[in-house]
Symmetry: C2
Subunit: 141 residues, 2 copies
Amino acid sequence: MGLKIGELAKATGTKVETVRYYERIGLLPQAERTSGNYRSYTPAHLDHLNFIRHARRLGFDIADIRSLLDLADQPERDCADADRIASGHLRAVEDKIARLVLLREELNRMIGQCRGGSVGNCRIIETLADHSLCRSDHAGG
Amino acid sequence: MGLKIGELAKATGTKVETVRYYERIGLLPQAERTSGNYRSYTPAHLDHLNFIRHARRLGFDIADIRSLLDLADQPERDCADADRIASGHLRAVEDKIARLVLLREELNRMIGQCRGGSVGNCRIIETLADHSLCRSDHAGG
DNA sequence: ATGCACCCTGTAGCTGCTACAGGGTCAAGA
DNA sequence: TCTTGACCCTGTAGCAGCTACAGGGTGCAT
């Protein structure tokens, strides 16, 4: 009657192993078993897993998803908790972007200085080997 | 005479365990040992580790750093190899930024729709639970 | 009876470290 | 000489979030 794990996986764009993993870590509730010991999933499981997958695609980590699922189960609770989790994640994403943008600039600078030729006078290798750059984070602050 | 591991670590802003890890995976050449079985590092090790740390700070992975170190050891080789590695990494960084920017927008939209109140009508939770969004990547492409 | 697609459990691997446990070494001080 | 304490050693397990086996069982069709 219920969905088999492969069907659930296909319906949500998840790998079978990942579904089992979510169950093992307690993110997805245990499924009933058939007489042959196959997992048998309900539409509620489908919703649950869709929620998880969507949150994962948005970059939420497992701990956050646990909290969000908890909240989703208690409709009377204050939305502020969900807001806090999402905003915290947004800030983390913004931080990551900022760090990557700096990185991109530094890489661009490095690559832009490479005028071809042999490794012996390659600016890329030189930059990486440069002593004065090696601990700029420590020297600077 | 040479540097002890703690001294090398301090001089490069690395943890002692990390230095041992780099040696174990063959990224940093083995050090001589003292009579008491302590590792004894040379200035060449210091240069080598500084190179590694700088490349790591720029986000290069271990495999790339291995290649870059290889290149740095062969000054007669064509710089294009170094350029290829660096440019490939740059592209990966740009990809990551692009994906995170999309993520940021989606998170912003989601959070912006939250008008407070109870979880029961929280747009954040609703968005995550929304079926139509759950496999948009499949549906759309 | 046989083949095949699917399911099961358990465990190891991925990246780049980090953090122990349980010991040994070495220089300084009492 | 003994002891303290900072350092060093090896080996192994843990983090996140899966992924990929090995080695077996189930269920349906032929």
